[in-house]
Each structure stands twice: as structure tokens, then as C-alpha cells.
Subunit: 325 residues, 2 copies
């Protein structure tokens, strides 16, 4: 189980390995949103997303002899890069199972970071879990799941520890913390950290329209799935359903979910470029999109938005810039 | 005169007002350059460039009664935004004299940050200094020069204090620190900070080809001017000649200058996008361009490059992304 003690311990293991990303603010975004918008740019984290935190947390928590045999992950891309880089820096092998339609940049980067990449057919219905488990058994690799894994949730939660501290430094101790949500590892981890260190702040999951499984599950009070496996440009946060470990945490601690359109994600990417000078990927921009364009769904004088990743192809980024014209 | 005591005092005044930007590194850039490349992303500073440091330093050092009458600056854009925002946060008026051909984004942002903007014809030969001095006298405004001003140099030097500390945390205490150089305020300030806190590190100015007045002046041992007032996409660092205050500091402390092409600046912007997830403007990318593409001009296992600003129009940024194709 992941609790605040596990997150604090993860923060200790991540020290001088993960980056402490800053908390950014722009008067232009504040004006656009009608309230203060504090942005946690995890695109600046190693490998370009928060996933490095969970990956490092999980690898560093393994028994050294087990770790030495190598690790395995299945991922749409950012978890893959996080695991590959964390494994390389631990000097152990990694095998990554990735959908064959993942962005070219993510496939290439994962290989360049030293991982062996095994692809599968996401649309055709192949199960990455089945492939992962077979490989794990065959080669003695330890499977590190992308979100339903206590040490991964603990690592992602360190983002929340930093938000609590950095927001307080900027005079903000109450309000919503909007989190880009796929399987819910980051959202659950941040929610636990806030519960302990910023009890008047509340995590809220943000998802793409049509892939708002977490939002609907929170309303229904039970885990619901998405109708389709893909179809949003926000590929990094398209997952079938909330996790078995992450959902109960979100149910206990999170505020209502918000769903944003792909076009709003593109517009938020453009604002992040223009006003914060950071590169956000579509799935990494949905929380900022909610902060900027769903202002009626939010209360209070300030909101925090996590930009969870920045691994975007130049062509996609140019489309975002085109929304400024 | 600016010395390390003035920089340390400026750092104290900037505390909790300027951002402490992180020091970034990417295994991909390290491989490209053949050595470790540590990047100081001042594009993440308030107003999108290091200029906020000098602006805050200068304004906060003024007598409150003098400051209350307002401040005046002449600038190609980034100094303007820094002064406008620092003045707004001090609650005092600011008047900015800007070239009429400055990027539209910079003109608009400066106005939006609360400044009154007065434009002049840079190509036609109007003197911004003359206009600035007349306005200063007429309205009782205090002129804050963009680089030849001790409190501005002190503020920019705080970048160097952070580099010395953050590089040491990453195990780097020797090597070149490449600095995007216009009038030399940032370069001189960083050089002074390194002299005191990282004596085995050395600042080196980087400029656009054709506008390498500082490089040539350092070789000649005297202040030389550029032939033309404009003509590079690196508008932020195109200045007529090294400053009277900044040049002697650079002469005493800096290594040889490096000149890079506009195209190398665009390629470096693309790498900053791809590998660091930050937005660099052309003039802000020349130091990174030198680190990545002038590797033979650099010695040692590690180099630091300052990305000095990120205020770039989307169209220009798209041109940089096109270099990746």
C-alpha cells in the first residue's frame, strides 16, 4: 500500500537523482484564467515526464540482486523512457513492451536510452499485460507496472510533496491541483501527498473527452472502462480504466474529474509555449487546458496545474502553435 | 563598480522574487556534443529571459522616493519586459523605448506588462540613448540601461552564482560557461560570479556571426563595433559594441568568444525543444549552439550553456522545428 511514509521514503531515494522542477506562474495566464495559475512543469523532469520519478522509486526499492537481472515495463511511451533511463543509470538491463503505433519519437528515445523494445498491436487487441508477464517469466525480469504499483505511486507522489511546499512559498495553500490522468498513478500519489502536507488542497484528475474513465468512475463509484483503446492525440494518458490500487485512493481524496477536448489541449500547449517557455505534449497539457478553459469548473483564487510531460513530435507541436494564429 | 559583493547583495534582493532556474542535462545532448552539456534555462525566468534579474536588481536598489517617480529603459525587447514587470511588481510606472522593428510579441508583451512603449527607427539611425535621456529629464524617470549599469550587471551575475552551485552538485567544477552575449551584462556578471565561486570555470561570450563585436574586441584588446545595426535573427543580442563597464570585466576574466550562424541557432532551438522541453529564442540559443556544434572550440569533459531567453514568435519557432526534418 502507498501512504505518505512511502512517498517520503521515495523522496529520499529520489534526492539528487530526480529533478526538483520549479513551480511557474505567468501574469498572462493568470489574466486568461481569472485566477492565479501555478504550473508544475514535469516536462522538465528527466526523460521529459514525471514518469522518471515512479521509475526511479520502483527500481531503487528493489533488492539489488533482483534488480541486477533487469526490469520490464509495458507503456505507451513515457513510462518506458522513465524505466529505460532509470535502469541505465542503475546499470541494469530493461525490456520495454510498447504499442507499435506509439509516437516515433518515443520509440526511438526508448531504444536510445538503452532499452530493448518489444512492440505489440494495441488496436488489434493484443494484451500488453500478457506479453509482459510472459517475458518476465522467461528472462527473470521484474515487471514494473506503469501505475498500479505501490512504489511507482510513491514516486509520482513526490511531485505532490514539491507542489505543497512550492505553492506555500508562493502564498497558496488552498485550491485545486489539476493532474493529467491516465491510470491514475500521478493523481493518486499527488492526492496522498496533499492530504498530508497541504490538507486544504485537493487533487482533481483531468482527462481527454471520450477517455474520461476516471471522471465517470468517480461519479459511478466503481471502476468503468473507456469504449475505445485509442483515438485521442493525448496518447500518454489514454488507458483502459482506473487502476485497482489508484482508484480507491482517488475515490477517497480527489475532487470531481474534468474532461477537455483535444483542441483545448493544443491551445494549452500553445499557451505553455508562449507564456511559460515550456514544451508540453497533448496528454501533458490537459490539466493546464482545464485551468485555462474550464474556469467555471474550478473554485478559489488559485489553481495548480501539472504539465506531466513534453514528449511531442515537432509536427504535432506545430499544430498547437497554429492555434495561436 | 560591480564586484562579487554587489552580486551577493543582488542575490539577497532577488530572493523569492526571481526564479532559481534549474540546471538541465540530457543524455542525448551529451552524446551529440561528446561531453556533458549542462544547460541553464533562463527562458524559464520571469518574463522569459534573464533580464528580469538585472531589472529587479536595479529597481530594488533605487531609493524608494526616486523609484516612485518611475523608471525608463531602452531595449530590443527582453530588457524592456524585465523592467516593465519589475516596475509593475514594485508598483511604479515604466516607460520603454523600443525599436519599431522589434518582434511583435515583445512589443505587445511589454505593453501588457504595464509599460508605456515609445518606439524609434533603429535602421534609420535614431539614437535610443538620446531619446531615453530626453524622456528621463522631462519626466523625472530614472534611466536603467540594459547592460552598462552596475546594479544590472550585479543582477545578471546571480545567474553565475546559481551555475557555480548547481554545476558543483552535478559534479562539475571546471570548464567553460558559454553565455549568449549582446552588450555583455550577463557575460560580465557570470564571469565575476565564477571568479569568486567556481574559479576553475570560465565564462565565454557567444554571438551571431557578423555581430561578434565582443569576440573581435577581446582579440583586439579594445572595443570594436559591428558594421551593421541589424540583420541577424538573434535580435536579442545584437548590440553595437561591448559596454564600457562590461568590456573590461570580460577582458580580465573571459575566454575567447565564439560566433555561430543563425542556422546553428535554429538547430540548437530545435534540440532544446526535443531534448530539454524548453523554448529558446534565436539569440538565447547561441550558447547552446556553440556547445553542440563548435565542440572543437571547447575543451574539457563538461560545458555549461546559458539559454538566455525564450521570447520567440511561433513562426520563427516553427522554422527551428523544421531543421529537424
Amino acid at each position: 500500500m502507498t501512504d505518505i511514509a512511502a512517498i517520503t521514503a521515495a523522496a529520499e531515494r529520489l534526492k539528487s537523482h530526480a529533478r526538483r522542477t520549479p513551480l511557474l506562474e505567468s501574469p498572462f495566464l493568470n489574466e486568461l484564467a481569472g485566477r492565479r495559475v501555478l504550473v508544475k512543469p514535469e516536462c522538465l523532469q528527466h526523460t521529459g515526464s514525471f514518469k522518471f520519478r515512479g521509475a526511479w522509486s520502483a527500481l531503487s526499492a528493489l533488492d539489488p540482486e533482483v534488480r541486477a537481472k533487469g526490469v520490464l515495463a509495458y507503456s505507451s511511451g513515457n513510462h518506458a523512457q522513465g524505466i529505460a533511463y532509470a535502469a541505465a543509470r542503475h546499470g541494469v538491463p530493461s525490456v520495454i513492451v510498447m504499442p507499435e503505433d506509439a509516437p516515433a519519437l518515443k520509440l526511438a528515445n526508448t531504444r536510445a536510452l538503452g532499452a530493448e523494445v518489444v512492440t505489440y498491436d494495441r488496436v488489434g487487441g493484443e494484451s500488453r499485460e500478457a506479453i509482459g508477464q510472459a517475458l518476465s517469466k522467461e528472462r527473470g525480469l521484474t515487471l514494473i507496472k506503469p501505475y498500479d504499483e505501490p512504489m511507482v505511486i510513491a514516486g509520482q507522489g513526490t511531485t505532490g510533496l514539491e507542489i505543497a511546499e512550492q505553492a506555500a512559498e508562493l502564498g497558496v495553500t488552498t485550491g485545486d491541483v489539476l493532474v493529467c490522468c491516465g491510470g491514475g498513478g500521478l493523481t493518486a500519489g499527488v492526492a496522498l501527498a496533499l492530504e498530508a502536507h497541504a490538507p486544504q488542497m485537493r487533487a482533481r484528475p483531468v482527462e481527454p473527452v471520450g477517455f474520461d474513465d476516471t471522471k465517470r468512475s468517480l461519479i459511478a463509484g466503481e471502476i468503468l472502462s473507456n469504449d475505445r483503446p485509442s483515438g485521442s492525440i493525448c496518447d500518454a494518458i489514454v488507458t483502459p480504466a482506473p487502476g485497482l490500487l489508484t482508484f480507491p485512493i482517488q475515490q477517497r481524496l480527489c475532487g470531481p474529474g474534468i474532461a477537455v477536448t483535444d483542441n483545448d489541449a493544443l491551445r494549452a500547449m500553445a499557451q505553455a509555449f508562449l507564456r511559460l517557455k515550456i514544451v508540453a505534449e497533448p496528454g501533458g497539457a490537459v490539466a493546464l487546458a482545464a485551468a485555462l478553459y474550464h474556469t467555471d469548473d474550478i473554485q478559489g483564487d488559485a489553481v495548480v496545474a501539472v504539465v506531466s510531460g513534453g514528449n511531442v513530435d515537432p509536427a504535432q507541436f506545430s499544430k498547437a502553435l497554429a492555434t495561436l494564429e
